[in-house]
């Protein structure tokens, strides 16, 4: 396991923020984990979010990023992070240990979809048409980037190795778009929310891909803390900070950048569909 010192050094090295996030001496710093969202264009967003959280919490905040979802989940569960914005898949896997602090509102609902995309030139029109292609997954712990596709395969009694000619993980939704757009992969599994946001931010890249499958609506990746936090006051404060974003100018800027409407409180029921899929896949394995 990584030590706290390693975490700090890693953050300092990997996230080149414009100002020091936290000093090693700041023992009371809030540590907040983030999964890669848009990754390549996240720097400004992270900086704004840190500023916002510092202002809201009145404490130093350390944002922690890792390459895989698994790393963030592990850090959260082992108590190295106070809270994290994680995918719904890890949440349903560890629902008993995690508490929902806030859930984003996308198009006024705490929901999103999984998309399966192909290259613009591809003749595929349905999920079954992508059989035999090279497939790009996002992350093994991602609902949209893995679990949903894996679930669809399980329904067909197939594994990725059987169904696809080749598959690989890109550890980022944006990378799935790049892989499919470049022709490295013939198809890809991606977060529908990310694809929609990218279609406005990077239309040239998105134009080279086409959605052939949209899943039902699933619970949006939540902001979670541990069920039994060291500091329950912090959990409440974090929840309040996210909930209050629409009423703060910087918060509104962040929401605008994320193309979210705000945050809401939610119960674990929201992730029922995700959990169901996870159970099906788990049963197959």
């Amino acid at each position: 396991m990584l030590s706290r010192r390693d975490v700090m050094a890693g953050v300092a090295a990997s996230v080149a923020l414009s100002r020091p996030i936290v000093s090693a001496a700041a023992a009371d710093a809030v540590t907040f984990g983030l999964n890669p969202l848009f990754l390549d264009s996240d720097i400004q967003l992270l900086s704004m979010m840190q500023t916002y959280l510092v202002k809201q919490l009145g404490r130093p905040v350390q944002l922690v990023k890792r390459r895989t979802y698994q790393e963030i989940t592990a850090m959260l569960l082992s108590g190295q992070l106070d809270a994290a914005w994680i995918c719904d898949d890890p949440y349903v896997q560890h629902e008993d240990q995690l508490a929902l602090l806030a859930v984003p509102l996308y198009r006024h609902e705490p929901l999103y979809q999984t998309y399966v995309i192909v290259g613009q030139e591809s003749k595929a029109n349905s999920f079954d048409d992508i059989k035999g292609t090279v497939h790009a997954f996002s992350d093994p712990d991602s609902t949209s980037g893995y679990l949903v596709t894996r679930y669809l395969l399980a329904l067909r009694h197939a594994t990725p190795a059987e169904f696809f000619r080749e598959f690989f993980f890109t550890y980022g939704h944006r990378n799935v778009v790049r892989a499919v757009a470049a022709g490295l992969a013939g198809s890809g599994s991606i977060d529908g929310y990310v694809w929609d946001v990218m279609s406005e931010r990077e239309p040239e890249l998105i134009k080279r891909t086409r959605v052939i499958y949209r899943s039902e609506s699933l619970g949006f990746p939540p902001i979670v803390g541990l069920q039994t936090p060291r500091d329950s006051g912090l959990a409440k404060a974090l929840s309040a900070a996210f909930m209050g974003m629409p009423s703060d100018p910087l918060g509104r800027e962040i929401l605008a950048m994320l193309q979210l409407d705000g945050f809401t409180q939610a119960t674990p029921d929201l992730y029922h569909a995700t959990q169901e899929k996870w159970l099906v896949v788990k049963a197959q394995v």
Binding site: V134, A136, R165, E166, F168, F169, T170, Y171, N175, R178, A179, A182, G183, L184, A185
Partner: protein, 495 residues
């Protein structure tokens, strides 16, 4: 050979610039060869260094993904490297696993994951690490094996577009051709201009030499000598010295000619005195006879006849002399009598030397030639002929009209005119007077030349000399004569 002979006679003004241009072209070709081969080798070295650096960077980026056979990370590394190496224009980069299957490439649609590099393309790549350059195709192929602890975990294959390098070579070649071409033309033009300027004094000198040939000896004026090279200044100075000498000589020669004229005059005067004194004795005798036997009518009549004949002879002698020296200048036509007069003048000399005169004057009427020139030149020739002919010999004169000109032949039986004098007389030699007493000939030549006439000398060894002089009719007189001829009137009577 013919071409060489022709080029050999080309003017310097062309030859030197052409030579300069030729040398420049030779140098340009040589320099271009050296520059281009040096450029090509520099470019190749540069390309090797660049591709080495490129492959070092790529290897570092794809080594770990290759160990894990991570398709995305490998592609991501290749994709990000695409614009990081400005000196290397990679058409494609492929990372191949040890099983020869493609892990990822910069162009996945052309080289799909898990496929093999097409054999046709694969044969371009070297077996070991290295670079293969194909200038004709404008491509280079690179191979770098990815090694970890001595084990190969894959290879990087890259095709590089070297069209830019070849374009630079073409540009350099074009620049060389243009620059050297411009320099060659400029140098040739400057050479032409400079040489033309340098040789300009030669054309000045040539003009003045031509003046000399035409008989106008004049020095080159100071104005033409400004800003000329020292060599030409010396040449001009020498020419001017020569021109002055020639001019002085000319003056001296005409002075001598004048003296010779007086000498001839003296000779004639003495001949005339002799002619006059011969009958004078008879006349005095006749006077004496008249005084003593004048009363006898038969004696008186025959004595008076004798007196008349003697006085007539004296009158004729005096008249012909007067005609030669007084009337000739204004008289522009010559008749038979003008030539026959000369017989009176030469006869005493001929008689003195016991030489017979064979006189054939076939002129009728007046001819439009300068009588002074005809008479003086003919008289000089006759004097020379009498001088050359031994006692008892014959001097001949023949005057005829022929082809709108008057021709007079004077023959002698002397030892023959020396070749140098003959040559001089017909104006084949230059205008210098030959050594010795050739002044009479100089006068003849000048008189004839002034009238546009010509002289021919026929010389037989030990058989004397025949000199023929031709005076062309003066133009205005010919025209007048033609007019007269048209009007049916004989120009003789008209004159």
């Amino acid at each position: 050979m013919a071409t060489i002979a022709r080029t050999g006679s080309w003017p310097l003004v062309w030859k030197v610039p052409l030579l300069v241009a030729g040398l420049m072209v030779g140098i340009a070709v040589m320099i271009s060869q050296v520059v281009l081969s040096r450029l090509a080798s520099d470019q190749e070295n540069n390309l090797r260094q660049l591709t080495d650096a490129y492959l070092d960077g790529l290897s570092a980026a794809v080594l770990q993904p290759a160990i894990r056979a991570d398709v995305w990370e490998t592609f991501d590394a290749l994709d990000r490297a695409r614009n990081h190496y400005s000196g290397v224009d990679a058409r494609f980069v492929v990372v191949e696993l040890p099983d020869k299957k493609i892990l990822a490439s910069s162009d996945p649609t052309r080289f799909p994951v898990r496929s093999a590099v097409p054999g046709e393309l694969a044969r371009h790549f070297p077996e070991a690490n290295g670079l293969v350059i194909d200038n004709d195709a404008g491509r280079a192929w690179l191979v770098r094996t990815l090694r970890v602890e001595g084990y190969s975990v894959g290879r990087i294959l890259a095709e590089i577009d070297i069209a830019e390098l070849l374009r630079v070579r073409r540009d350099v070649l074009l620049t060389l051709i243009l620059a050297n071409g411009a320099l060659t033309v400029a140098f040739a033009a400057i050479g032409y201009w400079a040489l033309k300027r340098m040789l300009q004094p030669l054309s000045v000198l040539s003009n003045y030499v031509e003046h000399v040939r035409e008989g106008r000896v004049e020095p080159i004026p100071e104005g033409s000598q400004r800003k000329i090279a020292a060599e030409f200044r010396r040449l001009f100075d020498r020419f001017n010295a020569m021109a002055r000498a020639l001019s002085e000589r000319e003056t001296l020669a005409s002075h001598l000619a004048e003296q010779e004229k007086y000498a001839v005059l003296g000779k004639l005067a003495s001949g005339m005195a002799h002619e006059v004194s011969n009958p004078l004795g008879g006349l005095f005798n006749a006077l004496d006879t008249l005084r003593r036997h004048g009363t006898d009518p038969s004696v008186r009549d025959s004595t008076l006849n004798l007196l008349e004949r003697g006085l007539t002879h004296i009158r004729n002698v005096v008249r012909s002399t007067l005609v030669i020296y007084r009337l000739e200048a204004s008289n522009h036509s010559a008749g038979a009598a003008d030539i026959d007069d000369l017989r009176l003048l030469i006869e005493p000399e001929a008689a003195r030397k016991n030489i017979d005169l064979d006189w054939m004057n076939e002129i009728h009427g007046k001819l439009p030639v300068a009588v002074g020139s005809v008479r003086q030149a003919t008289l000089n020739l006759l004097i020379n002929a009498c001088a050359a002919t031994p006692a008892g010999g014959v001097v001949t004169l023949r005057a005829i009209e022929e082809n709108y000109s008057l021709m007079i032949e004077v023959g002698d039986e002397g030892p023959g005119l020396p070749a140098v004098l003959a040559k001089y007389l017909v104006a084949e030699a230059d205008e210098t007077t030959p050594e010795g007493n050739g002044l009479g000939l100089w006068i003849v030549r000048r008189l004839v030349a002034d009238e546009g006439g010509s002289i021919r000398v026929d010389r037989e060894r030990n058989a004397g000399t025949l000199i023929s002089v031709t005076w062309p009719f003066r133009e205005e007189r010919i025209l007048e004569n033609d007019k007269d001829a048209l009007s049916g009137e004989d120009f003789v009577h008209a004159g």
